[in-house]
């Protein structure tokens, strides 16, 4: 087995036992990148040299006997996190040459934990999309079928983990942007509770929905990364000063006696039969582990998508106003006056999906429409949250499909934004409510495409989520397949 195929916990053991070095691991991963990346295109930019230096430093720390927790572990970062001194594009032409003077909070934390950054991964521009086709820097391909999309918006991060182009990665999830690509690429992806991981330095798409989380090869690695990135940050006002437990402590506890809700609204028309079959199989596994699965209802589910497409674009229209060509980023040449400079810079700098959402959001916030759209959407959002609060009174967790279908073909939905938006139908509600969710592989389609199951839990119940995900992973015992590349 190659080093690049390993998980974090396996590499930690090998490093501890002196069976390998961080530099060897790093070389292995970059060799894999050299061989496979041209076909997958998971990265926007690689960090080979700083990575080798960080690996050498990790080896030094290991030799001294005081390695930080993630010493020598190669981790890829979605290109939405500011990285000090290294270009950060957010998948957009408008930030093509932007070099942040500071690290995002999670980057700081991982750096301090000794992680080795492999590079910045591809994404839909400003995280707006479900297929990574909206990047200004090319399409990322699904490692399981290079003609298909990896999901999005964190498609690069998901594909990089699936194709062993890193050991783990970070993504961001505004409406499913971690869980959906995790499901489509056959890896584990978690969106923590809103407020659990600091958003400081995460380039904002929709501030009240954005949350950072890991992509990993298994649930244990997810717990390891959550230990590294979770926690209160005084630089972020919506960060919550809630104690962070040792998430690894939840693994292996089992779910005997749990009540797991099966929300009926997630098992309706539009869900691919093979996905349904896989998820039903997952329900049986959960039951076999001693949990009781019960039918529950989240009555406002049908409104989630429409509410999301008001709130997220509204916030985005304001968040993206700063890209005006004045201070940094792309500025169009030859504008005659200020207004023209704004118009040209933004017209040339943003891609079509971003423009669409800026227009949607601007409209929703406009005088005379605010009450009917943004305000009403905020009210419905509160109802969605109430739905979840209600079911978590009696349920330990919920189980749903992560995506309605396996990975679709590149170009299949680009002409129809609404069809594209529907691929987040199962994941958006967790962002609305601010609750944590995780996608875990639960099987393969007849075409050999991965399918994921989603578990949801109440606010700050990431521990429980990891507990059921780990139990399911072990109980389902799905043979560990790798994409053929």
């Amino acid at each position: 087995m190659e080093l690049y195929e390993r998980t974090i916990h396996e590499l930690q053991r090998l490093l501890r036992d002196g069976e390998t070095t961080a530099v060897e691991i790093c070389r292995s991963v970059f060799a894999r990148i050299e061989a496979v990346e041209p076909r997958v295109h998971a990265y926007i930019a690689l960090m080979r040299e700083p990575a080798m230096a960080a690996a050498a430093a990790a080896d030094e720390a290991i030799r001294r006997g005081d390695p930080p927790p993630l010493a020598g572990i190669p981790i890829a970062l979605k290109d939405i996190y500011c990285t000090k001194g290294f270009p950060t594009t957010c998948g957009s032409r408008i930030l093509q040459n932007f070099v942040p003077p500071y690290d995002a909070a999670v980057v700081e934390k991982l750096r301090a934990a000794g992680a080795v950054f492999t590079g910045k991964t591809n994404m839909d521009e400003f995280a707006m999309g479900s297929s990574t086709e909206n990047s200004a820097f090319g399409v990322t391909r699904n490692p399981w079928d290079l003609d298909r999309i990896p999901g999005g918006s964190s498609g690069g991060s998901a594909a990089a983990v699936a194709a062993d182009l890193c050991i783990a990665s970070l993504g961001s999830d505004t409406g499913g942007s971690i869980r959906q690509p995790a499901s489509l690429c056959g890896v584990v992806g978690m969106k923590p509770t809103y407020g659990r991981v600091s958003r400081f330095g995460l380039i904002a798409f929709a501030s009240s929905l954005d949350q950072i989380g890991p992509f990993t090869k298994d649930v244990e690695d997810c717990a390891i990364l959550m230990n590294a990135i979770a926690g209160y940050d005084p630089r972020e006002s919506t960060s919550v000063p809630e104690e962070v437990p040792d998430y690894r402590g939840f693994l292996g506890r089992g779910i005997e006696g749990w009540t797991v809700g099966i929300p009926r609204e997630y098992f309706v028309a539009g869900i691919d039969p093979e996905v349904l079959a896989c998820v039903r199989g997952a329900i049986r596994v959960v039951e076999s582990l001693g949990a009781r699965c019960v039918d529950v209802s989240l009555p406002h589910t049908e409104h989630c998508l429409s509410v999301y497409y008001i709130i997220a674009p509204a916030e985005a229209s304001s968040n993206l106003a700063r890209y005006d060509g004045v201070k940094y980023g792309y500025r169009a040449e030859g504008a005659a006056d200020l207004l023209e400079m704004y118009k040209k810079s933004r017209s040339e700098g943003f891609g079509p999906e971003v423009k669409r959402r800026i227009m949607l959001g601007t409209y929703a916030l406009s005088s005379g429409y605010y009450d009917a759209y943004y305000k009403k959407a905020s009210q419905v959002r509160a109802l969605v949250r109430n739905d979840f609060d209600e079911v978590f009174r009696s349920c330990d967790a919920l189980l749903t499909p992560t995506t309605p279908t396996p990975a679709f073909r590149i170009g299949e939905k680009t002409a129809d934004p609404l069809q594209m938006y529907l691929s987040d139908i199962c994941t958006i509600s967790a962002n609305m409510a601010g609750i944590p969710g995780i996608s875990v592989p639960c099987g393969y389609s007849s075409e050999g495409l991965p399918i994921g199951v989603q578990f949801l839990a109440g606010h700050f119940a990431e521990g429980k989520l990891l507990q059921i995900a780990a139990a399911f992973e072990k109980g389902a015992n799905i043979p560990r397949r790798k994409p053929k590349l």
Partner: protein, 476 residues
């Protein structure tokens, strides 16, 4: 037809916190361009605002002082518009739920007294500054001022004249400075005012169409601009015209308001709650704590001075114009025990000397204990009131205590009857013609003799003694 002006004022006051409202940058004025600007000020991607609690505390002080209701939960909202001095493309302000609402202040002016409503007080961040290059077709952006905390105080449309507006503004200014939350400097724009003005036929309830006035950077200009604007609107209405709703700029040089050039676009700021900030919770205990630490406000102080020191309202007004001046005066009173005399000296000679040099009372070389000691020297007859004027000047010039000045200059009053009588005798002998006039009934000549005696004693003779003796001796 007789028209009645309806005026509402919006005041922006810069708060005197050490750091900005949403980051740790300094608020100091005059730093090199963009030297007090961090990634938050610059609106870099990914940065987030963190509220400075001191700003809320300062704003609550103003809310209490203006009798507003402080909202237990108030919300920051984004005001969206594009401008190069606004790095995020939105200003963080408050909209639907401001910090405080429904207050009032009482103002006095020549025409009387009046209560003026305060609709709301909200917190917001200031924008940056554009510097236009005169020789090149470009502009520079200085973001030092970005994120400097402001409160906006919006009055009710209760103001009916330029004079009332001016009185209201002065009162607000005075309260802000008293509370030590704003330095009140209008030239630097730390206290700025916009006005909404309309006219309506007297007796009519509905408001007329209003114009918004900007660019008035002194109390005097606010009053002049309003007077001009009221006349302008009156002229238009009387000649059958209609007022256009627009923003007008006051031109100090021409003494007139002009419609802002360019197309007046109806702004849609697309306000919505800022998702990067949580609602500001203000509990009663906090308000109570701030209230208990509030200084005595100018109006209360004025009333107390009139009551306790028995000084005229005018004096009380002058002496409470600033907290430092009031403190100075009270210290002098405490040390000399003569409130009215102390008021005369502080308002007269001390303020005159300070004003000549545009010096602040806090830097006055004549310390309260010196002035009090000098007043006591007048009272016990050591020096005359007239000499005292010179003593104060000398104290001001040298910073020396009155005793030293009096001794060095030999200014001790001559109260020895023999010495004064001697001087009078000499004056009478030297002026036989005037003596004859006096004795023939011309009382006016008496003043001449007083003057001559004072001259002969270099002003040191006790005036009362001079009067008494002179009368006796002239009578023969």
């Amino acid at each position: 037809m007789e028209f009645e002006p309806v005026i509402g004022l919006e005041v922006h006051a810069q708060l005197l916190t050490n750091t900005k409202i949403f980051c740790g940058c300094s608020t100091k004025f005059g730093a090199a361009p963009n030297s007090a600007a961090c990634p938050v000020c610059l609106g870099l991607p990914g940065v987030l605002p963190v509220l400075n609690r001191k700003v809320v505390e300062f704003a609550i002080r103003m809310a209490i002082a203006t009798n507003c209701r402080v909202n237990a939960e108030n919300v920051f909202a984004r005001k969206n518009y594009f401008y190069p001095d606004l790095p995020k493309g939105y200003q963080i302000s408050q909209y639907a739920l401001p910090l405080a609402e429904d207050g009032h202040i009482d103002v006095e002016f020549d025409g009387g007294k009046k209560r003026i409503g305060i609709v709301r007080i909200h917190m917001e961040e200031d924008a940056g500054k554009l510097l236009h290059d005169e020789h090149n077709p470009w502009s520079y952006v200085d973001l030092n001022r970005t994120g400097v905390p402001l409160i906006e105080i919006v009055s009710a449309p209760d103001i009916r004249s330029a004079e009332e507006a001016s009185a209201y503004l002065r009162r607000l200014h005075e309260i802000l400075v008293y509370l030590e939350i704003c330095d009140g400097n209008m030239e630097e724009g730390n206290f700025r005012c916009d006005a909404n003005v309309s006219l309506r036929p007297r007796g009519q309830e509905a408001f007329g169409t209003r114009a918004e006035l900007k660019n008035m950077n002194s109390f005097r200009n606010v009053q002049r601009a309003l007077e001009y604007e009221i006349k302008r609107q009156q002229y238009i209405l009387e000649s059958g015209g209609a007022i256009v709703q627009e923003t007008r700029l006051w031109d100090d040089g021409q003494g007139a308001t002009f419609a802002m050039r360019g197309k007046e676009e109806a702004h849609d700021y697309r306000y919505f709650p800022d998702p990067d900030l949580v609602p500001v919770a203000v509990d009663e205990a906090w308000v109570k704590e701030i209230r208990s630490a509030l200084p005595e406000l100018p109006l209360e102080k004025r009333e107390r001075f009139i009551r306790d020191y028995a000084i005229p309202p005018y004096d009380a007004g002058v002496l409470t114009a600033s907290r430092a001046l009031a403190d100075y005066y009270e210290e002098v009173v405490r040390l000399c025990g003569l409130p009215k005399i102390a008021a005369n000296w502080v308002m007269g000679d001390v303020l005159r000397l300070l004003n000549e040099e545009k010096r602040d009372i806090r830097d006055c070389p004549v310390k309260p204990e010196s002035l009090a000691a000098m007043i006591r020297f007048i009272e016990d007859g050591t020096i005359s009131g007239k000499i005292a004027k010179d003593v104060v000047e000398e104290m001001y010039r040298t910073g020396k205590p009155p005793k030293a000045v009096i001794e060095e200059k030999g200014l001790v009053q001559i109260t020895d009857e023999g010495a004064v009588a001697d001087a009078i005798r000499k004056v009478i002998e030297a002026n036989p013609a005037q003596l004859a006039q006096y004795r023939s009934g011309k009382d006016k000549v008496f003043g001449f003799f007083v003057g001559q005696v004072m001259k002969a004693t270099q002003g040191k003779a006790n005036p009362k003694l001079v009067n008494d003796l002179l009368k006796k001796m002239l009578a023969g």
